[in-house]
Amino acid sequence: MSAKKGLHLTLKIWRQKNTKTKGQFETYKISDVSTDSSFLEMLDILNENLINDGKEPIAFDHDCREGICGMCSLYINGRAHGPDTGITTCQLHMRMFKDGETIVIEPWRSAAFPVIKDLMVDRSAFDRVMAAGGFISVNTSGNTLDANAIPVPKEDADKAMDAAACIGCGACVATCKNGSAMLFVGAKVSQYALLPQGRVEATRRVLNMVKAMDDEGFGNCSNTGACEVECPKGISLENIARMNREYMAAYADRG
């Protein structure tokens, strides 16, 4: 790129050895960060500098760096995935920051997501909620009926797709003052509730998933809507409403 000026930044980063020890903020300086770099690339450079200085690099979660795997997290300047909407941290670019700025970087903070190390948290609670009912009970033997024998109205398929777009990153939980996972669970319940294939076991699904969600220590929804604002995939609050309807119906129906 035609010689752009790099950014000089002060970073306040949460360091924590493991789940059992107490953590604290450490301050680091970094210079010549290209505005074309992503936020995670900026952390790569910092880590490279730390290693060169004989210090332990910062542990953070990341993988696809294309905004789809849901692995990256980070609370940046008080916002999940940082100061932009509709993106994951790997899609956040340094052009969003100013030269000389101080950036505060923390892990997701929620009782259900314990810190593993530094900026890395344990989100396996989501997997356990999924294992409690986030599926359609069909065998994978391939002995099913022809796909076009289950017509789905385009509008319903599109809505189901919008709900299914959730990447399970946990930004909704991290940003919620109650640490609620209802956007995540609502999205999965909605996907199946909108499709004919999912109806057969809808009652069991929503009861089991909601119970698992409660058991994992996630809080309740108080309709603040912060989750929707910070969701990188634009999952709508409508899904929470749909889950609540499904739950009420299932609760009344449970016999």
Binding site: M1, N18, S34, S37, S38, E41, D44, E48, I51, G54, P57, A59, D61, D63, C64, R65, E66, G67, I68, C69, Q91, H93, R95, I116, K117, M120, D122, R123, S124, D127, M130, A131, A132, G133, G134, F135, I136, S137, V138, N139, T140, S141, G142, T144, L145, D146, A147, N148, I150, V152, K154, A157, D158, M161, A164, A165, I167, G168, L195, Q197
Partner: protein, 670 residues
């Protein structure tokens, strides 16, 4: 003696799989819980295999390095999955999908495997729909299709630009169901570091718990490797950062042959490299080529002006644009296969027509303006808007594009800060998918008995080049519909074996080897980070074992990689401790393997004196610059056998490729 017995069943091509299934040994349902199976990797292939094997009643232990199986890199696939459903009535069939795949793979794939893949493809769609995968639909409620490179029918099923995500989440949901039932024991944040062989059979693995740092022993009656591809050898690729070759490389070093390592797919539509701080490349779905036209300026001075920021692409007149794919390949146009499109783009950039304003001078345009206006006009007619204004047409067309590819456009804008609705996307080829991998027979078994390899980690179905939307198909075909049958044939001999003990000398030795290596890395007082060496390797690989290869370059690469390897083991610096989370230590293990594999890739590329698919040798090209294959001397799979530490001593075995059902001819897309 070569161990290469492909075990292709006899009989006519279309009956092989059916006959084979009819005659394989079975494990009775009441015996399946006496058998343990390890599955390494939980992407489309591993996730679907683990779910299906558990459902059948085996005890499954599944491993992934991510924090959840839902994050496997299959999730990033965008465009779609092929299936010979012929829902569009445009002449598709099992045979045609088979034919396109074999031809697209430049006649370097195994006929029987590819036919089986085409045969089960339709069933994959049925399966996924029943699992609740929200594929795109038309207004009649039926499934919609799009077209992909290298084919002339619409057979690609999609879920917006997130098909891989939805298929993976489908497999993950089935896997979750089995985890919930206790049928699958899931080991998240675990990495396989060694294969354990007892009495000549794969009987377990050594894994590292990435959270605690503990080295663990896990035994099983069979081990399934589903660890994906090795594109990250190049450092910069479209692969996830953690995606690695270690599992496949470890079994190679224990006796599994590694086939066609030089076959790497360079995907034509990625966002170009922006600078030296870059960690990763981002793909723009190939499906965009359905609606985008690829061009560079016709006049070199226009390219220069664009690079200098003095000219915008929108201001270049239609007649001053070189739509080079449409010009060179009129029959397929912008939908030529990936290898052809990539090379054509490189050719234009090498000739000075690249448009990216950085040192690389790379990049070509992917332009949607024609499609926006075309779809806008169609939409206006449909909506009964008479005499629409230009702006109305544009808005309607933009809405159409947005519905089809909206998320990709947003992704592009976030990365580049350019609005692709207004100005064409800048794209350039990047390392994407690896067609080479562990050699397997028709049953997906490697040359190590009891060690099976599925999905991108094996070599069998794609030949020298992979057509779009066929990777998802192979992953799910292997995992849902092929492996569960073939592994039973092997396991039927194991119903009386009983549990495999983990306190044997074989497990002791494998564990010791890994622990020694961990201690070496953490205690080595080197001066350079792991990434430093990885970048050096990547640089050599991209320049000399990349899109265009020469014998001289490859010979240099082999020597230079030797040097990197030596320096790495002498001078690598890994901070942190053996216990607890240590991401640098994880990387060190992976990069050690990448270096060795990188050298084998160069050796394989040097021995293969021809051009085919993703392997383009500049000394084997036609006068028009097209790849020149040598079927007389190279119509075989090159499978390498490990011979000890110096990769240069590996021994080549050849599996001849026999085409009984199709005529092998020059690949033309003109």
């Amino acid at each position: 003696m070569s161990k290469l017995d492909s075990k292709i069943p006899g009989g006519p091509l279309k009956d092989k799989w059916k006959n084979h299934k009819d005659h394989m040994n079975l494990v009775a349902p009441n015996n399946r819980d006496k058998i343990d199976i390890i599955v390494v990797g939980t992407g489309l292939a591993g996730g679907s295999a683990a779910a299906t094997l558990a459902e059948q009643g085996y005890n499954v232990k599944a491993f992934c390095y991510q924090d959840s199986p839902r994050r496997a890199h299959s999730i990033a696939a965008q465009g779609g999955i092929n299936a010979a459903k012929n829902y569009q009535g445009d002449g598709d069939s099992t045979y045609r999908l088979f034919y396109d795949t074999i031809k697209g793979g430049d006649y370097r794939a195994r006929e029987a495997n590819v036919y089986r893949l085409a045969e089960v493809s339709a069933n994959i769609i049925d399966q996924c729909v029943s699992q609740g995968v929200p594929f795109g639909r038309d207004y009649g409620g039926q499934l919609d299709n799009r077209s992909f490179g290298g084919v002339q029918v619409k057979r690609t099923f999609y879920a917006k630009g997130q098909t891989g995500q939805q298929l993976l989440l489908g497999a993950y949901s089935s896997l979750s169901r089995q985890i919930g039932k206790g049928r699958v024991q899931m080991f998240n944040r675990h990495e396989m570091l060694e294969l354990v062989i007892v009495d000549g059979k794969a009987r377990g693995i050594i894994a590292r718990n990435l959270v605690t740092g503990e080295i663990e022993r896990h035994s099983a009656h069979a081990v399934v490797i589903a660890s994906g591809g090795y594109g990250n050898v190049y450092f910069l690729s479209t692969n996830a950062m953690g995606s690695n070759v270690s599992a496949a490389w470890k079994i190679h070093k224990k006796g599994a042959y590694f086939a066609n390592p030089c076959y790497v797919q360079i995907h034509p539509t990625c966002i170009p490299v922006h600078g030296t701080q870059q960690s990763k490349l981002t793909l723009m779905s190939e499906s965009l080529r359905n609606s985008g036209r690829i061009w560079v300026p016709k006049k070199i001075e226009d390219s220069v002006a664009i690079r200098e920021g003095k000219l915008r692409p929108e201001n270049i007149k239609e007649e001053d644009r070189d739509y080079y794919l449409e010009r060179r390949y009129p029959a397929f146009g912008n939908l030529v296969p990936r290898d052809v499109a990539s090379r054509a783009g490189k050719e234009r950039c090498d000739a000075g027509f690249g448009i990216e304003n950085n040192e690389t001078k790379e990049g070509v345009y992917l332009d949607f303006s024609t499609e926006i206006m075309k779809k806008g006009k169609e939409s206006a007619i449909e909506k009964h808007i008479h005499n629409p204004t230009e702006q109305q047409i544009y808005d309607l067309g933009k809405a159409w594009i947005e519905e089809k590819y909206g998320n990709l456009f947003v992704m592009y804008e976030k990365i580049t800060a350019d609005d692709p609705y207004k100005t064409p996307m800048k794209i350039y080829p990047a390392v994407h998918y690896t067609m080479g991998g562990v050699w397997v027979d028709y049953n997906l078994q490697s040359t190590i008995p009891g060690c099976f390899v599925v999905g991108e980690a094996n070599f069998s179905d794609h030949g020298a080049n992979r057509l779009g939307a066929s990777a998802l198909m192979q992953g799910l075909a292997d995992g849902y519909f092929v492996l569960p049958y073939t592994i039973a044939d092997y396991l039927s001999a194991d119903i009386r074996t009983g549990q495999i003990p983990t306190n044997s000398p074989e497990f002791d030795a494998a564990e010791k080897e890994i622990k020694d290596k961990v201690n070496f890395f953490v205690n080595n007082k080197g001066t350079h980070s792991v990434d430093y060496f990885h970048k050096q390797l990547g640089h050599i690989m991209w320049n000399k074992v990349g899109m265009g290869r020469t014998p001289e370059g490859l010979r240099e690469a082999i020597v230079e990689i030797d040097e990197v390897k030596k320096n790495f083991w002498k001078d690598v610096k890994v901070m942190g401790e053996t216990e607890g989370m240590n991401t640098e230590l994880e990387k060190a293990f992976r990069v050690a393997d990448f270096i060795e594999l990188g050298q084998l890739m160069a050796i394989d590329a040097l021995h293969r004196n021809e051009s085919c698919g993703g392997h383009f040798r500049e000394d084997h090209a036609t006068p028009e610059g097209e790849a020149e294959r040598d079927d007389v001397n190279f119509k075989y799979v090159g499978a390498w056998e490990y011979q000890g530490d110096d990769i240069k001593h590996e021994v080549l075995h050849k599996e001849d490729l026999i085409y009984d059902n199709i005529e092998v001819k020059a690949r033309s897309y003109k």
